[in-house]
């Protein structure tokens, strides 16, 4: 085992990235005044909608992503690499392009025409917001969950089976507990990414206040007015979103804190 670099050196090498990430956010905060936050009363709907849709997107991602992650973790099949690569596509596809793809498929140019015949619509609805967020954010969950499932020793799963446990029971009583930190990490990343989703939402779900206007869209709309007030409002909204997200993520990580020790690394 090699020697660890001195803490001071590691800190010094970490500073460029940390400063690069933190200073713009700090810059947002110092540009606001208490008066700026008066806007946030009006933005309560947007904040509430953001939290609701991000949480719903997370639930959907977990429900439909867990089987995929398990399948990739424990099964070998022809085309596995292709499937894995397909799951990476939403991560590299520009969100606006993703929104356009969803709009063309689920809108009137695609399945939406059938939905319209039954007086149903997906585009420009809260459901469209959730769908956009699932499309963009679910790969984060799948990747983390797969890594977590792969880390479960095969011997433990086999031992569970030999003791008479069904696959489902083994999954819930052995696999999930052991991989829970990876699952939670994936869930946090997914929720955070969904919360910040903008491009796909804008194109597929639109910017209807109270229905599809999430916080990122509210921030965009405010600064798009071109006025000084609009700019200050957008900054204040951004600070609120950053602060609330930070608290939620910090709490989630605190609740599931994993003490890494050398033999677990």
């Amino acid at each position: 085992m090699g020697r660890r670099p001195p803490a001071a050196v590691a800190t010094l090498l970490s500073l460029p990235l940390l400063l690069f990430l933190l200073t713009p956010i700090a810059g947002l905060v110092v540009r606001t005044t208490p008066r700026s936050y008066a806007c946030c009363v009006q933005a309560v709907h947007a904040l509430h909608l953001s939290f609701f849709t991000a949480t719903a997107a997370l639930v959907v991602s977990v429900l439909i992503g867990t089987p995929v992650a398990y399948w990739l973790a424990h099964h070998d099949f022809r085309g596995k690499d292709a499937v894995d690569t397909l799951l990476d596509l939403p991560l590299v596809l520009p969100p606006v392009a993703a929104g356009l793809a969803l709009l063309l498929l689920y809108g009137r140019q695609g399945l939406g025409s059938w939905l319209a015949q039954h007086d149903l619509r997906l585009t420009y609805t809260t459901a469209a917001v959730i769908m956009s967020q699932v499309f963009i954010a679910s790969p984060f969950y799948v990747k983390h969950a797969r890594a977590g499932f792969e880390s479960v020793p095969e011997t433990l799963r086999l031992a569970s089976a030999t003791l008479g446990a069904s696959r489902l029971r083994t999954f819930f009583r052995v696999t999930v507990p052991i991989s829970r930190y990876a699952l939670v990490a994936g869930a946090v990343m997914t929720w955070a990414r969904a919360l910040g989703e903008f491009g796909a939402t804008l194109v597929f779900a639109g910017d209807f206040p109270g229905r599809t206007e999430t916080m990122p869209l509210a921030i965009y709309s405010s600064q798009a007015s071109g006025t000084e007030v609009g700019l200050r409002t957008s900054i204040a909204l951004a600070v609120v979103l950053v602060a609330v997200s930070f608290v939620v993520i910090a709490i989630a990580k605190r609740l599931t804190r994993n003490d890494l020790s050398p033999d677990m690394a």
Binding site: P5, L103, D207, S225, G226, T227, G230
Partner: protein, 270 residues
């Protein structure tokens, strides 16, 4: 191993710093070579096609002037110019953003010119399957309407004004299924058949002539808007910037905008 890692890390930091220092100097050289002048134009993205065509024609006519264009929402562009105190030309999607630019002292008022005219109109799907004849029909049960977002898009403010004047604002807004965040997204709603009608600009039809029909709005309800251009107060090449703005309103510039479906003469609204 540690030494190698340290060297790699310090090398990466040094390279990043070098790029940050060198890049502006290199960019600056293009504009200050003495031979070519580079202008930066902030252009509303709805005007992108004719603006790019105008740029190409202008650069052909004046080979020593390069016009770099950045596109985006008119309000976003205004913020960028203001915060960075940069830019030579501002060409927003509508005149109310130019009014804001003037009041915020971002542009030279005397340099302001009208490049094209925008007439608000009802845009319906090709063939007008829902038989929409006027604003009252937008309030019919079962009709789906799309509008631009007021406050964020000039077209949204215009739509609200028209509906208010016509006395059908509440009724029509009950049928609105989306408020789009830009002119292009507003037009897209009707182009993709997501709504039965929008209130848009007459130039929207030119963007998708086979998909959109126009239903005129009564003249007493309509205020014709315009696509303006002006020289920014931050411009370091004011002479060349004024030249470009003049080009946009020249015979050649008007032909370019007209070929893209814009009205370049004051329209007689019916």
């Amino acid at each position: 191993m540690l030494r190698a890692a340290l060297c790699a890390g310090l090398g990466a930091v040094a390279l990043a710093l070098a790029l940050i220092v060198v890049a502006p100097a290199v960019a600056g050289q293009r504009g200050s070579s003495g031979e070519k002048v580079t202008l930066t134009a902030f252009v509303g993205s709805a005007s992108k096609p004719p603006a790019l065509a105008a740029k190409a024609a202008f650069e052909k006519k004046y080979p020593n002037i390069i016009v770099d264009m950045t596109f985006g929402g008119s309000g976003t562009l205004l913020n960028q110019m203001k915060l960075e105190e940069m830019g030579d030309i501002y060409m927003p999607g509508s005149d109310d953003y130019m009014d804001k630019a003037e009041s915020q002292k971002v542009v030279v008022p005397a340099s302001r010119r009208i490049v094209a005219y925008l007439v608000p109109t009802i845009c319906v799907q090709h063939g007008n399957p829902k038989k929409i004849r006027g604003l009252q029909d937008l309030a019919r049960p079962g009709i789906t309407v799309g509008l631009a977002r007021a406050g964020a898009v000039c077209l949204g403010d215009v739509s609200d004004e028209i509906l208010r004047k016509a006395g059908v604002e509440q009724q029509v807004k009950a049928n609105v299924i989306n408020y789009a965040a830009s002119c292009e997204l507003t037009q897209q709603m009707i182009q993709l058949g997501e709504v039965d009608a929008i209130i848009g600009w007459d130039s929207f039809k030119a963007w998708a002539p086979d998909k959109i029909d126009l239903v005129p709005i009564p003249a007493n309800l309509v205020r014709v808007r315009s696509v303006p251009a002006a020289v920014a107060v931050y411009s370091k090449h004011e002479r060349e910037a004024r030249l470009f703005v003049s080009f946009l309103t020249s015979k050649q510039g008007k032909e370019i905008f007209s070929s893209h479906g814009y009205s370049v003469e004051p329209p007689k609204v019916k």
